[in-house]
């Protein structure tokens, strides 16, 4: 039986070989694993967001959220992250069409948009720190930096995955052979985006 195997090598992902590559549900192992992981991540970010919500009004003698949040600035970086979801989905579409050039282009743009977002976050943290909100200043400070920092780390991990994907794609000789890996990175990236959709509303737009 001539079986074509699309070999996906997400960092971490792999599959045990079977006699036939059909699975009991007909769904791919990595994709199932990825959705399970994302379901689990809901509980992680839920805990961090709840901690922030509980503590956001407890500022000791440090600045309050209203005093330091720069809504226009954060709106722009939120918009950048949102648009990176569009470029990501275009990368996935290109990968499914076995268009490696297009895939790499969109992946790189997504990584750049992500980097812009992280850069904005670094700027924001610096500005907040200079205005008197340190990690240890108040409960608000501790929980704000923990929540947004965790999200920032997730974005950074995503950027590393995107760039690694571009490097792997460039070396692979079969066009589109990594399309499922691109799709998995896409799922992760969109998840990071939807977490920010929640954070943007609950943390920034709704005052205490």
């Amino acid at each position: 039986m001539a079986t074509m195997v699309t070999q996906w090598e997400l960092p971490m992902a792999e599959t045990a070989t079977h006699d036939t590559h059909a699975t009991s549900t007909g769904l791919s192992n990595v994709k199932l694993g990825m959705w399970l992981f994302l379901g689990s991540e809901c509980l992680l970010f839920g805990g961090l967001i709840s901690t922030y919500m509980l503590y956001r009004g407890r500022v000791s003698d440090g600045p309050t959220p209203e005093q330091i949040y720069d809504i226009p600035f954060t709106s722009v970086s939120s918009f950048v992250l949102l648009m990176s979801s569009l470029t990501m989905v275009l990368a996935v579409a290109a990968a499914h069409k076995r268009d490696d050039r297009g895939t790499n282009l969109w992946l790189t743009i997504t990584a750049l948009l992500g980097a812009t977002f992280v850069g904005g976050q670094v700027y924001e943290f610096t500005a907040f720190y200079n205005e008197g909100l340190g990690f240890t200043t108040s409960l608000f400070g501790s929980s704000f930096y923990t929540l947004t920092g965790f999200h920032g780390v997730h974005v950074t991990v995503g950027i590393i995955m995107l760039l690694a994907m571009v490097a792997i794609n460039k070396r692979s000789r079969v066009p589109g052979s990594k399309s499922e890996t691109v799709e998995m990175i896409g799922l992760y990236w969109h998840f990071v985006d939807i977490v920010w959709i929640i954070i943007f509303t609950l943390v920034y737009l709704i005052p205490v």
Binding site: T20, T23, T146
Partner: protein, 670 residues
Amino acid sequence: MAIIERPAPGTTVPALIPAAPAITPTRTFGALRRPVATKGWKSWLFTVDHKKLGLMYGATALFFFIVGGLEAVLIRFQLAAPEGKVLNADLYNQMFTMHATTMVFLFVMPMAAGFANYFIPLQIGARDVAFPRINAFGFWCLLAGGIVVNLSWFLGGAADGGWFMYAPNSGPVFSPSNGVDFWAFGLQIAGIASLTGAINLIVTVLNMRAPGMTLMKMPIFTWMMTVVQFLLLFAVPVITVALFLLSFQRSFGAQFFDVAAGADPLLWQHLFWIFGHPEVYILVLPSFGIISEVLPVFSRKPLFGYPFVVFSGAAIGFVGWGVWAHHMFASGLGPVSVAVFSLATMAIAVPTGVKIINWTLTMWGGKLVFTTAMKFAVGLIVLFTIGGLSGVTHSVAPSDTQQTDTYYIVAHFHYVLFGGAIFGLFSGFYYWWPKMFGKLLNEQLGSWNFWLMVIGMNMTFGPMHILGLQGQPRRMYQWTEARAGEGFFNLAFWNLVASIGSVILTLGILLFLINIVVTARSKVRAPLDPWNARSLEWMTSNPPKEHNFDSIPHVHHLDEFFHRKYEEDSATHTMREVATAEQVLAELERNADEHIHMPSPSYWPLVLAVGLPVVSLGVIYSIPVAIVGGVIILYAMYGWALEPSVAAESDFDEPSSNGHNGHAVGTSHG
């Protein structure tokens, strides 16, 4: 690992598959050459085989069981007599904290994970798990986590805040040693093992079942373990958050639980118990699964009401999410919260009761065979029921307020966890030992093992009901003669009984360890199907071959193996044997698959797991070390990502003799 070449049907079948693998080490994209050893320590260190990993989980768990047990005995020695001098107050705090932490996170959980690793692929007719390298990574994380937690003993004292580490006791003010830091990081790393294991096993169960094995034909142990994996999947991230908050507070000065800064220390309690109550079912459901396999086999009857056992297990898993605050009745939650959680807690007794009824009716009218495995299973039903009933008394909030933080609670959860979880695991040891090692554990020693454990456990934990209702608080490092009271219910007598009980319990467990040694030295091999078993894992050799099944069985029934051995006689409506286990196995061997590809061993899971404790130690002592750990982790991920999970075509030696050169499967990725 490697291709296992089998001659085509019809040619002479060699007795054993050649041990030497047809694999040559080549440089993969990463930095290391692929490991190829199939014998010796290297074959264990770099293995991705689910059976080897299962045994490694088991061995690690057993080691920590001994450690946790010795800690418990020291606690009982301290409390045997008034004003005990065995431990000082500080050491006593560390001892009960580490006893519970070790038993929960480093014995019961990994032991269940070991059984799951070993038996889920076998029970569903698979050759390995869905993600073999992640599986190996999970084991090394568990070991790393266990080492980090226990390292604190040698580096200034262990954690001393109790296993639920309530704030603000866990803060730097009340717990100045590094013990809590080690505790938090160690559990964080062990949590990675649980999370990756959960994803891996759920995908395995959903995706890798043998043809014909629908969900409702899966063996019940696999079902219960699947429920457990879902609980882990969603509960572990909650404790992850809690542990991060704690670590950030202790290492970087965050204020999450700092009451002076206006924090709510109850936040910790919520996060801990949102994880902690599902955790209770994570501990006990594997044992429910084990005895649901053992009872039918030794009652010579199918499990009574299989769908009820499945759905009540799932119901326990679901309702288990809505009862966490019953651990916090005395913390001033407010009447509404208390009433809601009180009701939910009473409700969860129902599916548990359903299970007990099912087990009892499985035995009803059966031809009972009281092997050691069966004794432990029956022991579980009785002891867990006692623990369950005292649990119902806790669900009544006013009564719970009286019992909170007394020995009554200690009595309750030891009946549930020792009488429930641990008795089930022991039942599993005796039942599955021949499958794992090809030898039967000694039944006579096993009987002594069982009775000493039953007597010891009831003597140790039974009196604690009385101690608790008499008002002895838990975690008190001494009690005084003056306040012990008089008459039948005086504390002195029952504390002494409990301590003597703990010695008997220790002797029982010692007999088990002796039994292991005796069995290992014995030359007698176990028969192929020693228990006349019912499920798919017994349709393999003892121990199973590296690739488990020569040909993947097609499943038509629940209890497939039983139905291959027995058929109903239409005249008498009795089951009559139509094939022996040997014949069933020979049938599989006759239809053996020609080419079997197994996942290749890898260095990366181990390298990646080594990075994690380095980061932890770095955060505690010196940040540059943490950066080194980070570099190790990145390097390992890089190597991992670039290493194909199956060795490339060129990585194998050409199969020599029989002319089958075409590797049909799995390698044409170009």
